[in-house]
């Protein structure tokens, strides 16, 4: 049980190889195989997670293997209160994602589903590695690992202008990543100068004190990578195209897990490593995320189909939780971590609803949806509960995180809190609009549709509803563990 952290990082890669090279008899059910593999990994990971003791502030389940010795790079991973929630979320969501594959990609051939599942397993490995990594260089390696599978999935199985969206997504993210690489190498060089012993562990790098100008440059360079990934307001240009044109499984992954990698990086790497620059620029970033919150909400209101609306809604929510991080308050930080989890599960549920509605119309345009609540009762209920969670209605987990973030941002810069509150009102507007246009109202010309959800999808809906309401009423159980 010692090297559990390392095991759950590498196991999905082997899982991907298994899924890609399945014998023909099993190839038709590759998504089930992938779900089984990732489910197994989740169970194994649960062992490590259950052993986690929130009251201890040190790293737990630590694995420290020397890797590139001459550069001081170690395979150094461990669990702490910041990443445990995200690790748990990734471990849980991935098998669920595979179980829902027939709903999410109904028209895909078995070989396409197998490839997608393999890619997603690789991306799961990258996400887990990013969350668990305590060494900055290792963080970068796993951060970049997800780029090519995501690009390939977008390019191969996407719709619409997938070539352009894929390239834009790749280049935006890559520019940020290379800026981060530069900063990492600079920090490693500075660390070697300081102590004579090369190292790239985060704890060692945090000890470096550098002069103001260099710190500012490095802050923005590393920050660029995270701001693009999250995405923070001015750097979101890749989001709409990528989310819209990506196959639904990839969209879910990007919204639920990939965006959290950016947010997590801000909390784990950016703010601790550059405290002075953080204090100097946090107000600017706080305002940027407040504007992003409102911008995403307004954009969402104006979208003409459900998928784009949810993409913009996701942008708005991510900017909301970034506000918590940029408030530089401990409460804001914990709230952001809590909100990362709640948003992850909520957006998974919402896109799952999208998947069900895809049966009616692939493009999910408003004119083709309408009055579906009659025909899809369970989906409608789930959609409604998830919408309430997104809006932040008290009693849902969305409310808890949002409220604490509002408090933190009021504390930091009162006007941003006002804007954020306004954004919350807007989120009610667009979510209710989405629900109304798709579920209520007159039935569109396409006529009836039958709800044929498998048991797994129904179970997932129920589980997510319970999660939303349960942690809305008893947030302490989660808040105790996450964010310390």
């Amino acid at each position: 049980m010692d090297h559990l952290s390392a095991w759950i990082i590498f196991a999905p890669i082997f899982g991907a190889l298994i899924v890609w090279f399945l014998p023909d008899a099993l190839a038709r059910h590759s998504h089930l195989v992938a779900a089984a593999i990732s489910g197994f990994i989740a169970c194994v990971g649960a062992f490590a997670l259950c052993e986690f003791n929130p009251s201890v502030s040190d790293l737990q389940s630590v694995v420290d293997w020397p890797w590139l010795d001459s550069w001081g790079v170690h395979f150094y991973v461990g669990l702490d209160s910041e990443n445990i929630g995200l690790v748990a979320m990734t471990l849980i969501l991935t098998p669920l994602l595979f179980l829902c594959a027939p709903i999410l990609q109904p028209r895909a051939e078995p070989s396409e589903i197998a490839m997608s599942c393999g890619f997603l397993l690789l991306m799961e490995s990258g996400a887990l590695g990013t969350f668990l990594s305590q060494d900055l260089f290792l963080f970068y390696v796993f951060w970049e690992l997800i780029l090519i599978p995501a690009y390939l999935m977008l390019g191969m199985y996407g719709t619409g202008e997938r070539a352009r969206s894929g390239l834009v997504f790749f280049l935006y993210t890559f520019v940020g990543s290379l800026a981060m690489l530069f900063s990492i190498l600079y920090l490693m060089a500075a660390q070697t100068d300081l102590t004579g012993v090369p190292s790239s562990a985060l704890s060692d790098l945090a000890e470096i004190r550098m002069n103001g100008k260099a710190e500012v440059w490095l802050f923005w360079a590393i920050g660029l990578a995270f701001f693009v990934k999250a995405p923070l307001f001015p750097f979101h240009g890749w989001l709409r195209g990528a989310y819209k044109d990506a196959p639904l499984m990839l969209t879910i992954y990007m919204a639920a897990i990939m965006s959290k990698m950016g947010a997590y990086g801000i909390g784990k790497v950016l703010l601790p490593l550059f405290p002075n620059a953080a204090m100097q620029y946090a107000p600017v970033l706080l305002w940027a995320s407040a504007i992003g919150l409102v911008y995403g909400a307004l954009l969402a209101y104006n979208q003409k189909d459900l998928k784009s609306l949810l993409a913009c809604a996701s942008l708005s929510h991510i900017n909301a939780l970034l506000m918590g991080l940029f408030s530089l308050k401990a409460m804001g930080h914990s709230a952001a971590l809590f909100q990362m989890l709640s948003h992850g599960f909520l957006i998974f549920g919402l896109f799952l609803v999208c998947g069900v509605l895809q049966k009616r119309d692939e493009s999910l345009a408003w004119e083709n949806l309408g009055g579906l609540a009659k025909f899809l009762p369970m989906t409608a209920i789930s959609f409604f509960v998830f919408s309430l969670g997104s809006m932040g209605l008290p009693g849902t987990n969305g409310f808890v995180g949002e409220f604490l973030i509002l408090l933190a941002s009021f504390d930091a810069a009162p006007w941003t809190g006002v804007i954020a509150a306004f954004g919350v009102v807007l989120s009610a507007a667009y979510m209710l609009r989405a629900y109304q246009l798709s579920m209520l109202g007159p039935v569109s010309a396409h006529g009836e549709i039958s709800e044929q959800l498998g048991y797994s999808v129904k179970a997932i809906f129920i589980m997510l509803i319970l999660f939303t309401i349960g942690f809305g009423i008893f947030p302490q159980t989660l808040l105790r563990v996450v964010g310390g």
């Binding site: 590139l68 001459s70 550069w71 090519i148 191969m156 690489l181 530069f182 600079y186 070697t192």
Partner: protein
């Protein structure tokens, strides 16, 4: 009165790899004189000779100098000789099929072997004359090889271009050698230190300054870096595929090894990396990066695309040499030799796929021809994709380890701006590395596409190198 210098047994021990390669090349030449199946024997002798030479290099430990630096065998020469031999074996394997179908000369293997001997001499010497001898041996063989695709006029054109320009570069090099001799009274690298131990770059008299500039020009030409990079696209595109592979990997490795030794011993040790030489090298780095990145964007021919990518890589390697030559020589040797090794492996993987897929009449591969390769021949698509991803420098491949080391070395020694520009150029370059991947995976297969079957050696080379690209990313050698 001249004293006769006899070679001691230790000298012979260190010389054996080169002698073995000479012998195997001669045997290969012997068996190429007749037609029939004997070309296979030619290849076999060359391959066995290379493997024996590799083993002999492996058992040479430490540093040993013959005739006071005329031949120098040390970790640098061992590593680069290993890289050259790997490039040789890979390229010879890739050319076997073309020789079998009589699209290349029968003497192909012998010429490859002789070129390798010349290259091994280039990296195993601390004397400018011996360097020139090695340079010419390899260059002349390669001139013949470039033009050896007799049914293609582009091949003859490429050979002529390479011969004329390469001849001019060799002339520059020779002129630099003569200036160097005039300035120091000897052609050995050690002669420089005897006269100008602690001089500043700007105080250096004109004669040695020009000597070094001319020598650098010769090196930069062979390396293919700006401002002497213009021969690369045409020559690499016109040459037969296996010869391009050999040039991209072996010639580059030899030039890197020779330049590394020159830079560390003459420029680095004597702190001459500032001033005009620093500017020349920095210009070389910048120009190569930007030109290679920008000009590659519009290419539709895969070979030409790889040629421009090689210019970008020259920029990176030059950054490593420039950044690290002042450093302790162990670190810069590690960084540059591992870069060269990973670079050779990546390129062999890419060229293996090209040699399987290229149409025989054009000897080239267009991007449109590899559309949908992932469905028709997934193993080839995977090999090529791995090579492209590695060249782009994405984790966790060998190319990433190579690039990050060079950048770290550059940043650690004050060339942060150059490193930043290198990263920017990498962003541009990745656009054209992604394009073949997109074509292979995301586009449908065109109707009526057919690929040559039955090139087992090339497939083997591709598979082995692709696997090594991935493995070396996780467990890198010589780092």
């Amino acid at each position: 009165m001249h004293t006769i210098t006899y070679l001691t047994p230790t000298d012979w021990h260190y010389l054996m790899p080169i002698i073995t390669m000479c012998a195997s090349s001669l045997l290969a030449l012997l068996f190429s004189a007749q037609k029939g199946r004997l070309h296979t024997l030619s290849f076999v002798f060359l391959a066995i000779g290379s493997l024996i030479a590799l083993r002999q290099i492996y058992f040479c430990h430490g540093a040993h100098s013959i005739m006071n630096g005329l031949l120098q065998f040390d970790p640098l020469s061992q590593r680069f000789s290993t890289i050259i031999l790997i490039a040789l074996i890979g390229s010879a394997a890739l050319s076997w099929d073309a020789v079998r179908r009589e699209r290349l000369l029968n003497e192909n293997f012998a010429l490859l072997g002789f070129a390798a001997v010349g290259m091994m001499l280039m990296v195993s010497t601390r004397d400018l004359f011996m360097l020139y001898v090695g340079l010419e041996i390899s260059s002349l063989s390669i001139y013949c090889l470039v033009g050896s695709s007799r049914h293609k006029p582009a091949s003859a054109e490429a050979a002529l271009k390479y011969f004329i320009l390469g001849g001019a570069a060799s002339a520059f090099f020779l002129f630099g050698t003569s200036l160097y001799y005039g300035a120091t009274g000897s052609t050995a690298f050690s002669g420089f230190g005897a006269l100008w131990e602690n001089i500043q770059a700007d105080d250096l008299p004109l004669l040695p300054r020009f000597a070094i500039l001319f020598l650098l020009a010769g090196f930069l030409f062979k390396l293919g870096s700006f401002p002497l990079h213009f021969w690369i696209p045409d020559v690499y595109t016109g040459a037969p595929i296996s010869v391009s592979a050999f040039m991209i990997s072996g010639v580059k490795a030899a030039a890197v090894g020779a330049l590394l030794r020159f830079a560390t011993e003459i420029l680095g040790t004597h702190r001459l990396l500032t001033g005009v030489f620093g500017h020349v090298l920095a210009l070389g780095v910048l120009g190569s990066l930007l030109i290679g990145a920008f000009l590659g964007l519009k290419q539709s021919s895969v070979k030409r695309l790889l040629a421009y990518s090689t210019i970008v890589h020259s920029g990176f390697i030059l950054l490593g040499i420039f950044g690290g030559a002042l450093a302790t020589s162990i670190r810069v040797l590690d960084v540059v030799s591992s870069y060269a090794l990973f670079y050779v492996v990546m390129n062999l993987a890419a060229f293996a796929v090209i040699s399987i897929l290229a149409k025989p009449d054009t000897d080239d591969l267009q991007l449109s021809e590899i559309a949908g390769l992932a469905k028709s021949r997934p193993e080839l698509a995977f090999m090529f994709a791995v090579a492209m991803i590695s060249m782009a420098g994405l984790p966790q491949t060998a190319g990433f380890v190579a690039k990050f080391q060079v950048l770290a070395l550059g940043i650690a020694h004050g060339h942060a701006v150059l490193a930043a520009i290198a990263l920017a150029a990498n962003v541009l370059a990745i656009v054209y590395y992604l394009r073949p991947i997109y074509h292979m995976y995301a586009l449908p297969t065109p109707e009526g596409a057919e690929y040559e079957k039955g090139m087992p050696l090339a497939l083997l080379v591709g598979a082995v190198t692709a696997v090594f690209v991935l493995v070396l990313g996780i467990f890198p050698l010589w780092v």
